[in-house]
Symmetry: C2
Subunit: 472 residues, 2 copies
C-alpha cells in the first residue's frame, strides 16, 4: 500500500470510530509518536492522518496537549422543527396505529422501542418485592378492605414531602391516590370537561392522552411545540378564547422530551388562571431529569388551585403496580366523587408497599441510578442513530424522560417502516400515533428505557438499514 | 299469683321467646307433663298456656307429637311493596346522602351496617396473604411490568371455568380483567352509552350505579321492581322504545336482594336482543346464594353477544384487591380500547395472586362457609328486627347476597334516623340513596356482611328504639 493510501486508510478507521461514537467528544487521540509506533508508520504519514481528521472537523489540536475528538454524532443530527399543527380543534378517532403498536407490548419476542416505561432490569425489584411481602403481612386485613377514599396516607405524605423538590408545598390532604397516572388524568378530564369542550395539548402528544380526550367526547387543539422548550405560549395566548381545558406535560413529555423553562411555566399558569381555564399538569417524567436539578412544576406557580397536578410511579418504579396520584386544587371534591364512583378504592396492598418504599430513602437512590442509566442510554442511542441512519435525520435533545423523537427524511413513511421493522421483531412508535392530524408521517419515537446492549445497537442498525432501503 | 295470671305469665314468656326468635319455627315445645314439672304447675294451667299460645297463632299441635312453634318473626314482617317509581327517565344529581354515608366507611369506630361487602373476619386472610407473597416472589418482575391488555390469563381461565356453574360457557378469550366490578360497569357504560342516552335499572338500585350513570351524562329510567322476583318485565316491554341500555343486577342485587327467575331472565334477554338494546349484567352477588343451587345468569341465555356480563371478587373475597372482570360479548374491541385508555393495565401482582387462589379450590370451600354465615346472619338480623322494630315494619326476603331492605312505617324519615343513629356510632343506608326520585324516604338498607355478635343485636335494638322514638 502506498503512503497516500496508508494515511487515508488509517484516517478512515479513526473517522469511523468517531462517527460511531466509539471515540467520543473530548477524548484524546494518541500522540504522533505513539501512532507511528502502533501502526508502524513514519512521522509524516502519522501527521497526515491527524491533518486529514482535522480537515473533516472530527478532531482539533490543543497546544502542548495533542489532538482531541471534537465531532459529536449530534452535530450531523439537527433538531426536529417546531411542530406546525392546524390550529383548529379536532374530534376524530385517533390513528389505528396506536392500537396496533400498544397491542404488541405483551409480546416477549419483540424488541420494544415502543414501550414508554423503564424495563424491569432497571427497577429495584428485590426491594419492591420485600416491601410487598411486608405490606401483605402487616397491613390490617392483608389489604382485603377498601381504603379510605383519599387513599393510602403514607403514600400521600411522601408525595407531599417530595413536592418540595419541584418547588411545591403540598400537604397530604391536597392529594388523592389513583390507579396509575392515566387514571388521574382521566378523573381530571371527567371532572372538568363536558362533551364538546376543547382541550389544548402539546403536539406531538402522548397517544394515551389523545385517546382519553376523544373517548370523553372532547375536541383536541394541538399546539405548536418546540422540541426543547415546549408549547408556543404566544399561540396558546392567541387561541385562549377557544380553549376550555389545557393538559400539558411540561417536564420531559413523550415523545419530544421538551422541558418548559420556569418563566414559561409561570406565564402559562398566569395566562390560564386569568382566563379561568384549568391546567391539568402531567408530571409523570419530572423525576427523570438528566441535569443537576429537578425542573419545577407549573403547580408551583399556582395561586388559586387552578392547576391539577398528576403523577405516578409508572415511569420510575413499577408500571404494573398502578400507583398514581393527583393534587386537584379546587377540584378536590369532584375528584373524590369520581374516584368513589369509578373505582371506589385503590389496590391497598400495593399502595401501602409503595408508601413504605418511598419512606426508606431507597427511592432517591434508585432514581439517581435510573437517571444516570437513561442519560447514558440516550447517548448510546444517539451515537447508533448517527452511525446507521441516513443523512437528513433529525433528533430531539431530551434533558430527561424516556424517549427520543426522530424526524426522518420527508419521503420515509414510518407506518410502512413499522411493518417492516415488526418483521424483524422490532416495535417502535410511528409518528402518526402522536397526533390527530396529518403530520409526523416521517417521524418516530424510540423509547430509551431498555438496558443498553450490543443487541439494541444491532436493532437500531436494522431500523437504520430499513430506512435507507425505503429511500432507495 | 292467681292461676289466671300464672298461665298468662308463662305464656307471655314463651311468646316473647318465640317472637324474639329464641324458639324458632319447627321447634318442639315441652310436653304438658314436662311443663307441669318444670314450672311447678298443674295440668290445667299447663294446658291453658298452650291454648293461649295457639290462640295467638304462635304454636300449633301435631297429633301424637305435641306442640311446635309455627310463628316466624317474618310473619309479622310482610314483604315491602313492589316499587312504583315514576316511569320518566331522569338526569339529576344523586342524593347527597350517598356521599355522606360512603365517607363514613373509613371510620373504625362505627358499626357499619352501610358497607356492602363481607367484613374481613369472614375472609380467608391467611390463604390470601400466602398467595400474595408467592405471587410477589414468582411473578416475572415482581409484578412491576404492565400485563397484557386482556389481563391475567390464570384469572380469566378460572372465571371461564366457573361460568359452567351459572349456565355459561365462557372461554378465557371472552374475558377482560378490570380493577374491580365498578370499573367493569364503568367501561361497559362508556362503551355503549353516549351523553343523553337512557339506561334502565332496578329500583331501588345500588347507589354506585346511579352515580356512575349520571356522571357519564346518561338519563336513568327506574323500573318497578319486585322484592323477590326483580324488575317488572311488562313495564320494561312497554318502555323499551325509550331505552338505550339496560343495566341489571339479576341475582341478589343490593338493596332488595331479589333474584329473577330463569324464565324472566330468558324473556329479558330475548326482549332486549330483539330491540338491539345491550344488557349490562352485574353478577357480583351471584355466588352468594342461600339455596341449593347457584342461579343462572342472563348471559347464559345470550345468543348474539348482546349481554355484557360483569363480576368481581369484591363481594366474596377481597374488596380492597380491586379484581373484577367482564365478558363484553360483541363489545370486546371497545372494552379493550377503554381499558387501554383509562388504566392501561391491572395491578398484576394482585390479579396473579387471585388467579392462583381460585385454582386451589380454596375458593369454593370459602364460598360455602361464607354463604352459610350470611344466611345465618340474615336470620339473626330478621329476628332482631322482628323483636325491636315497630309494627308496620316490612322486610325483604333475600335468597342470597349481602343486604336486607326494610320499609318502615310511612312517617319515619330514614335520613333523620341516619343522623340519630350516627350519634350512636351506627351507619346504615337510608332509602333515598337508592333512587334519583322522591321515594323510599321510609326505607333503609342493612348490610349483613358483619360477623354476628351480641353487640350487633344491641345496635339493631338501638336502631329499633330510635325508630320508635321518631314515631312518638
Amino acid at each position: 500500500m502506498g503512503k497516500e493510501f496508508l494515511y487515508h486508510e488509517i484516517a478512515s478507521r479513526f473517522a469511523s470510530q468517531i462517527k460511531n461514537g466509539v471515540l467520543i467528544p473530548g477524548e484524546k487521540l494518541p500522540s504522533v509518536r505513539m501512532l507511528c509506533k502502533e501502526q508502524g508508520i513514519g512521522m509524516n504519514t502519522a501527521k497526515r492522518v491527524f491533518l486529514e481528521l482535522e480537515a473533516q472537523s472530527l478532531i482539533s489540536s490543543k497546544p502542548q496537549s495533542g489532538y482531541f475528538v471534537t465531532y459529536s454524532p449530534l452535530s450531523r443530527l439537527p433538531l426536529p422543527e417546531v411542530s406546525q399543527p392546524s390550529l383548529v380543534a379536532k374530534h376524530r378517532e385517533p390513528n389505528a396505529l396506536i392500537d396496533k403498536v400498544y397491542r404488541s407490548i405483551g409480546n416477549p419476542a419483540l424488541t420494544l422501542f415502543s414501550i414508554g416505561a423503564p424495563a424491569q432490569e432497571l427497577l429495584p425489584l428485590a426491594k419492591l418485592k420485600k416491601e410487598l411481602v411486608l405490606a401483605t403481612r402487616n397491613l390490617e386485613g392483608g389489604g382485603t378492605n377498601y381504603e379510605a377514599l383519599e387513599g393510602n396516607v403514607k403514600l400521600r405524605r411522601m408525595v407531599a414531602q417530595r413536592s418540595m423538590g419541584w418547588g411545591g408545598n403540598l400537604h397530604e390532604s391536597d392529594l388523592i391516590t389513583t390507579s396509575g397516572g392515566m387514571d388521574a388524568l382521566s378523573f381530571c378530564l371527567m371532572a372538568i370537561g363536558k362533551s364538546g369542550d376543547t382541550v389544548a395539548i402539546e403536539s406531538p402528544c402522548y397517544p394515551g392522552i389523545l385517546q382519553l380526550a376523544i373517548s370523553l367526547g372532547l375536541k383536541v387543539l394541538e399546539l405548536p411545540t418546540h422540541p426543547v422548550t415546549g408549547i408556543d405560549i404566544d399561540a396558546l395566548e392567541e387561541l385562549v378564547h377557544l380553549i376550555d381545558i389545557c393538559l400539558l406535560v411540561p417536564n420531559f413529555n413523550t415523545p419530544l422530551g421538551s422541558c418548559m423553562p420556569d418563566e414559561s411555566k409561570a406565564r402559562v399558569v398566569t395566562l390560564l388562571a386569568t382566563h379561568q381555564i384549568p391546567l391539568i399538569e402531567d408530571d409523570v417524567y419530572g423525576d427523570l431529569y438528566f441535569g443537576e436539578h429537578r425542573p419545577k412544576c407549573c403547580k408551583s406557580f399556582d395561586k388559586d388551585g387552578n392547576v391539577l397536578w398528576c403523577s405516578s410511579i409508572s415511569k420510575t418504579l413499577a408500571p404494573g403496580f398502578r400507583v398514581g396520584w393527583v393534587a386537584p386544587g379546587r377540584y378536590m371534591e369532584k375528584l373524590l366523587k369520581l374516584k368513589l364512583v369509578h373505582t371506589i378504592s385503590s389496590t391497598s396492598i400495593v399502595h401501602e408497599a409503595v408508601g413504605n418504599f418511598l419512606r426508606t430513602g431507597r427511592y432517591e437512590h434508585h432514581l439517581r441510578q435510573l437517571r444516570r442509566t437513561l442519560q447514558e442510554n440516550a447517548q448510546q442511542y444517539v451515537q447508533a442513530i448517527a452511525a446507521y441512519f441516513p443523512e437528513g435525520t433529525k433528533i430531539s435533545r431530551p434533558q430527561g424522560g424516556l424517549a427520543l423523537w426522530l424526524e426522518l427524511p420527508k419521503e420515509i413513511d414510518t407506518a410502512i417502516l413499522y411493518d417492516l421493522a415488526m418483521k424483524q421483531q422490532i416495535s417502535f412508535g410511528p409518528g402518526r400515533m402522536f397526533t390527530l392530524q396529518n403530520q409526523f408521517d416521517n417521524c418516530m419515537r424510540l423509547c430509551i428505557g431498555l438496558p443498553w446492549s450490543e443487541k439494541l445497537r444491532l436493532k437500531l442498525q436494522t431500523i437504520g438499514n430499513l430506512v435507507k432501503a425505503l429511500q432507495a
